[in-house]
Assembly symmetry: C2
Homo-oligomer: 140 residues x 2
């Protein structure tokens, strides 16, 4: 199977990608010569990771009949000071809310995504120091 | 320096990331239990790569006083059949248009991005077989 993404330069630092018909504008922030018309390219690596592992986890929890009410994925990544400026460390916080959530099943779903299913994690973890945490948010 | 991306699950396979204030919806295609409300997560790895190397190249060509009229980046990636389904091979085509473009300068700018500046390429090329080509589009 192949994935294709076509990207065209619009002006200045603005680029537009076509992702299976979905348009995505990228731009540099003002400090880097752009006009901040869209996200910077590098953090899209983190959105890709969040979506990949998130969809795995939602799918597995559904199969395990674990009923979650909310689910957030917060990613923080450390960037090197020297070029090529890249992510050297990524921390992912998986935060769930719901009634009486079973931590063992949450851990199992997250672990299977990280170790077996998520093809984005698979690439990053060979180069980047990856760490994670699972939290259950207390109901207010 | 740190980059943070917060992502929240909306419903079904729909996730929304906040990238420095820019919202990005991701979804699975219908064949994978989604409703195709946004791009799939994995190809965002390719948009990230295109934007990263594209901004490098535009910035360097400007410094070299090379005046391009158009610039497209087409990326094709082969996905493995087995889980974790990941990109095993990526081909990038850099296509430029403009008057009397100097191929040596285009090659230099692309090469510097790939070898020295692009922090997205830096990660991927350690795991994925990466190949590229530079084309100058003939004027019609």
């Amino acid at each position: 199977m192949k994935h294709s993404v076509k990207t065209s330069w619009k002006q200045d630092m603005v680029f537009e990608s076509d992702l299976d018909g979905h348009k995505l504008i990228m731009d540099a922030p003002e400090a880097a010569g752009g006009k901040n018309k869209g996200p910077r390219p590098k953090p899209l690596m983190l959105a890709s990771l969040a979506g990949c592992t998130g969809m795995d986890v939602v799918g597995m929890l559904r199969k395990m009949r674990v009923d979650i009410r909310g689910f957030n994925i917060d990613i923080e990544a450390e960037v090197t000071d020297e070029a090529p400026k890249h992510y050297k460390k990524i921390k992912i916080i998986y935060e769930f809310s719901g009634d009486d959530l079973p931590m063992d099943k949450l851990e199992k779903a997250v672990g299977l995504s990280r170790e077996k299913y998520c093809g984005v994690s698979y690439i990053y973890k060979q180069v980047i120091d990856m760490d994670y945490e699972i939290r259950i948010r207390n109901q207010e």
